[in-house]
Every structure is written in C-alpha cells, then in structure tokens.
C-alpha cells in the first residue's frame, strides 16, 4: 500500500503505476455531473485543485451549516465526465481523480501530459468511504447543485483505492475490456 498525502506533488504521482494500491490522506473535493458541466460552461472553479484530488462522488451528508457529517460516500461512475475531464485536468492542475469504472483515451492522454492518475475506489463501498471522511470541512455550490452534486470538502484518512490509469499511458480497464472481448469471440 502506497501512502499519499495532500498536497500530491507531481513526482510522487508520476511514480505511481497502474495496479498500485494506494491510501489517501488529506483534503479531497467531490465533483460530479453538474460540477463538470458548470466548469466546462465557463463557471469559476470554487476551490483550489492544484496538486489536489477530485472525487467523483455524490455522498449522503447529514446535518446543516453548523456541522456536516458524511454517512455514505462511495464513488459514482466516472465515464459520464469524459467529455469534460481532459480540459479540467489542464485547467485545474488536479493530480488524483478518484471514481469508478475508469475514463477514456483523451483523459488518459491528459493524465500523461499533465501528471495525474485515476484511482478506482470500490463502487458501492459507501460506508467505508464515509468512515474515511474524518471531517467535512465545508461545501461549495450546495444551493446551485443540490446535496448529491455539491462540491464537498472532505478531510480523509487512509481512503483506499487502486491506481487503474497511470501517467504512463496504462489503463487497466481498457486492458481488461480488450481481453474480455477476445475471450467472448472465442466462446
């Protein structure tokens, strides 16, 4: 297990290889469908993603502005953000994208170019995800996007995942998919 601590510097992120198990500690921000469309449409990115992590997640959060608590926080499907992610990586300087299912070749190319990796969190493992969130430090765009799509500021401890796309052009999902198609053809 490789320990990653915020801020995630370019060298340590570029040293990661597809298949590495990682454990993430520090600040991460959630952002999903509405967030990506908003940024692509020219909206101002509400937080600083430089050397940071973006988590494709729509959590269950309870409480109010006096104090929030994440009770369920697993990943959502990343593929929907494919049209927006390469530009977001370039614009924001983000180093880790956490989600499920992986992303496309254009995103992989942007990861290679700007030094970013994709971390697969376990889909559906929402209780474990929430347990790793030690503090909800804040939230942005709550009124605009709603609770399931807002940009939540999570301080996490030992949030675990597997590097599925690295900055050297390897994409585990694409490899598995290609192999499965070959096997299907042989059945």
């Amino acid at each position: 297990m490789i320990e990653l601590k915020y801020p995630f510097d370019e060298n340590s992120v570029r040293a990661l290889r597809a298949g590495d198990a990682v454990s993430i500690t520090g600040r991460i921000y959630t952002g999903r469908d509405k967030f990506h469309k908003y940024v692509a449409d020219g909206g101002k990115i509400p937080v600083d993603f430089r050397d940071g992590a973006l988590y494709h997640c729509g959590p269950v959060v309870v409480g109010g502005s006096g104090g929030y608590k994440a009770v369920a926080a697993g990943p959502t499907t990343s593929v929907r953000e494919n049209p927006y992610e390469p530009a977001f990586i370039e614009q924001s300087g983000v180093r880790l994208i956490i989600g499920k299912g992986g992303m496309n070749d254009a995103t992989l190319a942007a990861m290679k170019r700007y030094g970013c990796v994709y971390v697969q969190a376990v889909g559906g493992a929402a209780a474990l995800g929430a347990a790793a969130v030690k503090k909800v430090a804040g939230v942005s765009m709550l009124d605009e996007f709603g609770a399931a799509e807002a940009v939540w500021h999570f301080d996490v401890e030992r949030f675990t995942g597997v590097v599925a796309m690295d900055s050297h052009g390897r994409n585990l999902f694409a490899e598995v998919e290609e192999e499965s198609k070959k096997r299907l053809a042989a059945l």
Binding site: V60, T77, G101, G102, G124, A126, A127, T160
Partner: protein, 276 residues
C-alpha cells in the same frame, strides 16, 4: 403511525443490510480469487463495507437508488402510497436515503424523495408482505434490451441468439455497473413487460433456479461463461464478474423478439417484511 414506522424499518434494513444470499456469494467469490489480486482486494473491501454498514446502520451504498415497493393487495388499505411516502420522507431525513429524486424537466431535487411516480408502488397478488428493492443508477444504466435478430451481436431468433445477447450485456457492462453483478433476464414480451419481468427476476434468491429445464440450463451456462471473461470485480480483472443469472420468459408476437437484461450491482438491496 405504526405502519409508517414499520416501513421506515424496512427501508433501514434494506439500505443498510445486504441480503444473506448475496453476502454468501461474495464470500465464496473471495476464496476463488488469487490472494493479493485486485479482485481479492475489491471483494474484501466490499465485504468490510457490508459489515460496517450493517453494524453502524449506514447506507451500504450512497446511491440508494430507485425505490420500488411490492405490496400485497391484501394490505392495500394499511400500506397506502401516502404512508409509504411519509416513511420515505422520514428515512431521507434520517440519512438512510440520499436526496436522490430529480425533476426530469426542471432539474430540481425533490428533497424528501417523494414526487408523482416516486417511490414506485406496485400492488401484487398473494401474501401479506411488503418487499422493497433499491436499485442504483450505475447498474440501471447498464441494463439493456435487444431486438432480435441483432446483427451487431450476431444474435438470431433462437436460444443461441439469447445467449449471445446476455454475454454481450456482460461485456458491455464491464465493471461500470459495479460488478460482480446479477442478471435479471426476460425473453420475449413487449418492451415494457420485458423490463418489468427482467427486474422481477432480481427478487429471486441467488440459489433459486428456473423451473423450465431449458432456462435452467441457460442460467447455468451464461453464469459460467460470463465468469470466464476475466472482467472481475469492478472491472479490474478476475474470476468473479457475475454472481447469478435469473431468466424468465413471456410470450411474444411474431414480429417482436426482445431479450431484456436488468443488470444489478453487487449491492443487491432487497428485503421483504411480513405483516401479521
């Protein structure tokens, strides 16, 4: 009020506690995967998550999904749509359900998860029970309907064609639907019946087999072949891609031959509560 409390309890148990048969299937899957592999790590994480959710009363997946209630018609006057909505609103307030219901035109959130058509309530024949199924969007997006013949899949209008569709659905889903998943399948029917019946198959226990010998054979074969594709848990490779295949058939008209696949994630949340 007691009925509302009972329904809240049903929602709590469904959202926080994976059914025994699914958990058992995941446990035996871990034993099949190579030690230290991505597949084993993912499955272990899933099982840890299931345990934590149950012990702490937390939603085991944050996508608490589309809520579908199947209510025995004998309970129609007791378990009313109004009481179900009341219970859903309470469960949402308690954090057992995510604010997960969006107006398709305005994009606004129905913050109590109640709207015209949400939750879904079906009154069904027989028994005195209420069954709740929670199906997440990631898996729903992987559901498919084929119209045979389908030249892209190479599927003709026979059982061999059906088999090709089912394996195509698995390859298409990869890990996106949160594999290892379960396939609920309907052969035939019209388009709407196809999805309805395919989804109903997800209510069957994983140990259950089709009564019809031909369907039983197909369930077994597709399960074996799907797990030979190497897709694995969450699509990171491995031997466990599908936990079960449940097939039913309905008559069709000569012009139509639909094969409908309802893909369900490992977080197969279904639970039945018996009413006295």
């Amino acid at each position: 009020m007691r009925t509302v409390d009972d329904i809240v309890r049903l929602i709590r148990e469904t959202s926080t506690s994976l059914p025994d048969d699914v958990e058992r299937a995941l446990r035996s899957a871990v034993r099949r995967e190579a030690k230290g592999s991505s597949a084993a790590i993912v499955l272990k994480t899933v099982l840890d998550n299931v345990k934590l959710a149950r012990n702490c009363g937390l939603p085991l997946c944050q996508d608490t999904g589309t809520l579908t209630f199947f209510v025995s018609s004998s309970l129609r006057s007791k378990v009313t749509p109004e009481r179900i909505r009341k219970a859903v609103a309470i469960a949402t307030e308690k954090g057992l359900l995510r604010k997960n219901t969006i107006d398709s035109v305005s994009g606004k959130s129905y913050d109590d998860n109640c709207a015209d058509g949400a939750p879904l309530v079906h009154y069904v024949e027989g028994g005195r029970s209420v069954t709740l199924v929670m199906k997440g969007g990631g898996s729903e997006n992987m559901s498919r309907q084929y119209s045979l013949p389908d030249s892209a899949v190479g599927a003709g209008r026979d059982m061999e064609g059906v088999r090709k569709c089912l394996l195509d659905a698995v390859v298409n889903a990869q890990g996106y639907g949160c594999a290892p998943g379960v396939l609920g399948v309907c052969i035939g029917g019209d388009r709407a019946t196809g999805f309805e019946v395919a989804k109903e198959q997800l209510l069957r226990n994983l140990g259950d087999v089709a009564e019809d010998a031909e369907l039983r054979k197909m369930e077994k074969r597709v399960l074996r072949e799907a797990n030979s594709l190497g897709i694995g848990p969450m699509g990171l490779g491995g031997k466990t891609t599908i936990l079960g295949v449940k097939i039913a058939s309905r008559p069709r008209v000569p012009a139509s031959f639909f094969v409908t696949v309802a893909y369900m994630c490992w977080a197969l949340r279904r639970r039945t509560m018996e009413f006295a």
